[in-house]
Symmetry: C2
Subunit: 366 residues, 2 copies
């Protein structure tokens, strides 16, 4: 956050121009212009000991302008770079969807599907080692909302806004903007952040005053977390030293939510260092909790079983804890939701389960 | 908003007790207890001239305790009434999902699927003529967010919070809580509210300063609008007299978004008077705009075509405007998105399209 947005724009322009310069030099030297990128699959993600996150490994693919198809791909990349440079100069921004539509006017370089343009923007992130936020590109998706003892200063287009995320907001909390880099973390009084999968649990903890009793920040992930949410969790952890706790449903899709928070996602492994919070702790709902707490449960569907099996070969889940829990779940054939704790009354989750889990996680000293 | 929450709770308890009293009297008089409810399909919604919204018609179905199945249904209703009464007495609230799990302990009255419990809560809304918010039941879904020249006072569990939806919030806007009845509309300086389907368009109008230039409230519907969003739009229109404009994509699903805002939804037709804003104007994206503005378009899918045809038999779309546009769309076989205006540049929508449409709608005087 020490960098101003002007400095960020300058760095970004410079890095984009470096790509063009490489092509220029390649052509000047009689070579065919090319770009080289890591291969982006789960077979090419590796654990990085230093940063403790999963990143792309050594497998690479090179794209050069030898064939018409590849040449058009590079033409598209050049157009996107031009478009981003224009945005930075005019201090504009746009959604990934808008850029896709704008490409309609780029003749041969027009995109045929939005996947294609999104993927190209990710490629540029990898090459420049910058987030798409630096390109002034934003996704459709919102960030999460948060509620708790923390004060932020958001540098909006209409000037800075200082907001205390308990005192200055309504019950639905502070809405995290797309570009988290515009948010300064001013001060806080939090013992931990609890990232929650569902809105129902967010409201439950708020109604039960859990944020006040334990000084926790309630963080509503809204399902599979947007990048902005993951980046915000990372910054809360890294800049303020607040422990991050993840509390989701007990099914394979929820474990992926945790994995993308803690380990980084496969699709955005190039951003793992910025987005992943390796110290984030998963406190449930675990398959073993279904028996331990006698929770109402549903049968696993075919898709659930396939997803669980796929997780057993996902390097991010290659730990004793996950292997044990996932195998147990496959044996039981059951899944359960975080709101299932309500079967023991509306207070059980805040009076029993969470205090126990937070103590086990070492966040609460009792 | 003149009623306090204590008064609201008292009224709610009284109405619930009236249901029980009817059953009690039926049994005392030697009759089998029963409930009668309107039939809830598109074949039983009728236009109400006075309120200008679509409501349930005269078709009714009666459920009595003659068979074991119906008796168990009424037992479930009794349990839910007991649960709601308990919530009101203890000043608690819960999600529909939590109540479903709590019913696990109700033995024979336990629900087998959440649809069943949601439907029963809707039945109770119809019988009591009260919103589920009065029962302290909340959905999973969030309300929308809004950004513009309006000041609200939200009466939260932690006391009242006064928030100006432009000055006191970040770029993601004010997050509308589940229970809009807790929000007072304090004052405003708005010429209209623009309800937007996508987050991309919400950010576009904000970045382009459209809310400042035309004093509009930007209202992000987030797809099919939650009840809280529809109720808020209704209140902005009714209490403050602000015109409501709806701007969506140009496909059958988007027309349903508009219909649920303006005419009321089929599923919640008993709430139409509280939720529907009959004067809400649809300004596009219209099928005729695809030609008029030469917009990038996609082919209609099979599902799109089926949905469009179903709209031709939906009484809410039985107007000259909709018949013309829907038939035109079926002829063209094309659909387009609101962000497709970006193909004419990032300013086209705020400099050309919206000013034209708002003038045509009589909201802007130029």
């Amino acid at each position: 956050m020490s960098e101003t947005s002007e400095q960020r724009d300058l760095t970004t322009k410079k890095r984009l121009m470096e790509i063009a310069k490489v092509w220029y030099d390649q052509m000047g030297g009689g070579d065919i212009p090319s770009v080289t990128l890591p291969s982006r699959t789960k077979y090419n993600i590796e654990y990085d000991d230093k940063s403790e996150v999963w990143k792309y490994g050594d497998k690479e693919s090179t794209r050069d302008a030898k064939s018409a198809k590849s040449a058009i791909h590079m033409l598209k990349m050049a157009y996107v770079m031009w478009f981003i440079k224009m945005q930075l100069s005019e201090n504009r921004s746009s959604t990934l969807r808008e850029m896709y539509y704008i490409s309609e006017g780029w003749k041969q370089a027009a995109f045929h599907a939005q996947n294609e343009s999104n993927y190209l923007v990710e490629d540029l992130e990898i090459i420049t080692n910058l987030q798409r936020e630096c390109f002034h590109m934003r996704p459709e998706e919102d960030g999460a909302s948060m509620f708790g003892p923390i004060r932020v200063r958001e540098n909006t287009r209409r000037g800075p806004k200082t907001i205390h995320c308990q005192d200055d907001v309504g019950e639905a909390g502070y809405n995290i903007p797309n570009n988290v880099e515009n948010v300064e973390l001013v001060d806080h009084d939090a013992t931990c952040v609890i990232a929650l999968e569902t809105g129902g649990m967010f409201s439950r903890l708020q109604e039960n005053g859990f944020d006040e009793e334990y000084n926790t920040v309630l963080f509503h992930l809204k399902g599979q977390p947007a990048r902005a949410s993951r980046r915000m969790l990372k910054r809360l952890n890294e800049e303020l030293g607040i422990p991050v706790i993840v509390f989701t449903d007990g099914d394979p899709w929820s474990y992926r939510i945790y994995a993308s928070v803690a380990y980084g996602s496969i699709k955005a492994a190039h951003m793992s260092e910025l987005l992943a919070t390796p110290s984030a702790k998963f406190i449930g709902l675990k398959p073993s909790d279904i028996q331990r707490y006698n929770l109402p449960a549903d049968k696993l569907s075919e898709q659930d079983i396939t997803a669980l099996k796929s997780e057993l070969t996902d390097p991010r889940f290659d730990t004793e804890f996950w292997k044990k829990e996932i195998n147990l779940q496959l044996q039981m054939g059951l899944k359960s939701e975080q709101q299932a704790f309500a079967s023991h009354g509306l207070d059980f989750v805040t009076k029993e389960y969470l205090p126990d889990m937070l103590s086990e996680a070492g966040v609460l000293k009792r």
